[in-house]
């Protein structure tokens, strides 16, 4: 499970990393990394994002 950030929208504020309950998200200055082995698809970060840049990664 994972989320991804739309790089056209993301402003790299890192707010999503602050609300992730399982520490799956990391802000790396100009990108958001999501650890798919930790992410539980709870959707909190997606709801939080001030600019609506996050979405769930569809399964293959």
């Amino acid at each position: 499970m994972a989320v991804k950030a739309d790089r056209d929208k993301c402003i790299y504020c890192g707010g999503c990393t602050a609300v992730c309950p399982v520490n799956a998200l990391t802000l790396k200055e100009t990108r958001i990394e999501c650890d798919a082995s930790k992410c539980t698809d709870c959707g909190l970060c997606i709801k939080f994002c001030p600019v609506g840049a996050l979405s769930k990664v569809k399964k293959e």
Partner: protein, 401 residues
């Protein structure tokens, strides 16, 4: 630059809290290393950039024209119906240039002897055989993968603090206890009074939050919004709507920067310390939950933490018991007040637009009381003002005890 393998103090995060702590530790002769994830201290900004002079005094900071951009002499609060409530104050403040401010704070700390490492990520803490936090593991930056031992670690790494979590402390922020923030820095604004901050409230304008205009000059300002983190619509959605509906201010305005962030507006962390670790600032949720300001509280906590922490290090005892006086002093000085402010926030969160309009009408003749009330003080005098309003009186009786 030569870096040691071991320091008296390692501070994670070079925001206002981290750098003031670094300056204070270094001033006392402790070897101090500050580790910052960003490549540039001060940027990107995630802040409305308002700072009261009272906080500058607490942190022993003098007026500096390179970052104190515009003097503020009060606020104008706009009720949902648009009616302005002017709230002048003798406690002046500034809208600051945080990119410069944070660099100047780092420079002060460096001059006192602290060392800084930027673009360096802390990805874990080191624990000793007793289970005390005894350093950090880093990657990236100038030195690449390195371990730094420390007698004391300070987590000053902001709302998304990982350091405290690596040490096993739960600093998780539920969505209901954070604000989602978004902001433009703009020029070409038409403002009535560029020496007042302008605040707009209303359930349609900014659900459980507010829109702010913090002037940085006569036609430039931070125009931002903070709303409760669990709203369906984004913060950007509400801010763009606000700007579109106020052509009298924004018709000729344009944005030259976009900023955003997460503000912890729940209760402060009950136990901002552990064996070998102290947590300050946003990382310990030391933020005023009414306005979301956290620079002042972080710097105030940093001063206390450095004094208590330096004593603990020099005595060779950095156990929980030795660090607890930091929390005791901070809660007495600020934490208890912030808990009362949180009650006021929860009270305001329940209000409809009509309720807010009513309150604006009753407080307009005593704005000093409104200020004191929103600072967590004078509950009974404030409640008397709206005692005749059945819903508000009942709500106050329930929530403001």
């Amino acid at each position: 630059m030569r870096f040691e393998e071991e320091y008296d103090v390692v501070i994670v995060g070079a925001g206002p809290g981290g750098s003031i702590a670094a300056r204070e530790f270094a001033k006392r002769g402790l070897s101090t290393l500050v580790i910052e994830r960003r490549q540039e201290i001060g940027a990107p900004v995630r802040c409305g950039e308002g700072l009261g002079e009272v906080w500058m005094k607490k942190a022993e900071l003098e007026y500096d024209p390179t970052w104190c951009l515009q003097e503020m002499r009060g606020a104008v609060l706009y009720a949902p119906n648009g009616k302005p409530v002017k709230i002048p104050t003798d406690n002046k403040g500034y809208v600051i240039e945080r990119k410069m401010f944070e660099k100047k704070l780092a420079a002060q700390a460096i001059r006192e002897g602290a060392q800084y490492l930027v673009k360096t990520q802390v990805y874990d803490v080191i624990k000793d055989e007793k289970g005390f936090v005894a350093g950090v593991k880093t990657k990236g930056g100038l030195l690449g993968a390195r371990d730094f031992k420390a007698k004391l670690v300070i987590a000053a790494d902001g709302v998304d603090s990982q350091t405290a979590k690596y040490a096993g402390i739960n600093t998780f922020n539920p969505l209901s206890e954070v604000d989602s923030g978004y902001e433009y820095e703009m020029a070409g604004l038409k403002m009535d009074d560029p020496h007042m901050i302008h605040l707009y409230v209303g359930t349609e304008i900014a659900p459980r939050g507010y829109v702010w205009i913090f002037p940085k000059g006569k036609d430039t300002a931070n125009v931002g919004i903070g709303i409760a983190g669990d709203n369906q619509q984004t913060a950007k959605h509400y801010l763009d709507k606000f700007i579109a509906s106020h052509p009298e201010i924004f018709e000729k305005a344009g944005a030259y920067e976009e900023k955003g962030g997460c503000v912890p507006v729940g209760a402060p962390l009950e136990k901002p310390y552990a064996d070998g670790l102290m947590i300050i600032g946003d990382a310990a949720h030391m933020v005023n939950p009414i306005h979301g300001g956290g620079m002042g509280t972080a710097m105030e906590a940093a001063v206390i933490a450095a004094r208590i922490g330096a004593e603990a290090v020099s005595r060779g005892d950095v156990s929980e018991q030795a660090l607890k006086p930091f929390a005791d002093e901070w809660f007495k000085e600020r934490g208890e007040q912030l808990k009362r402010v949180l009650k006021v926030r929860k009270f305001f969160e329940k209000l409809s637009d009509d309720d807010m309009n009513y309150l604006a009408d009753v407080f307009i003749n005593d704005t000093d009381l409104l200020l004191r009330f929103s600072d967590g003080d004078k509950f009974s005098s404030a409640v008397k003002l709206f005692a005749k309003h059945p819903k508000l009186a009942l709500l106050a009786a329930k929530m403001l005890v």
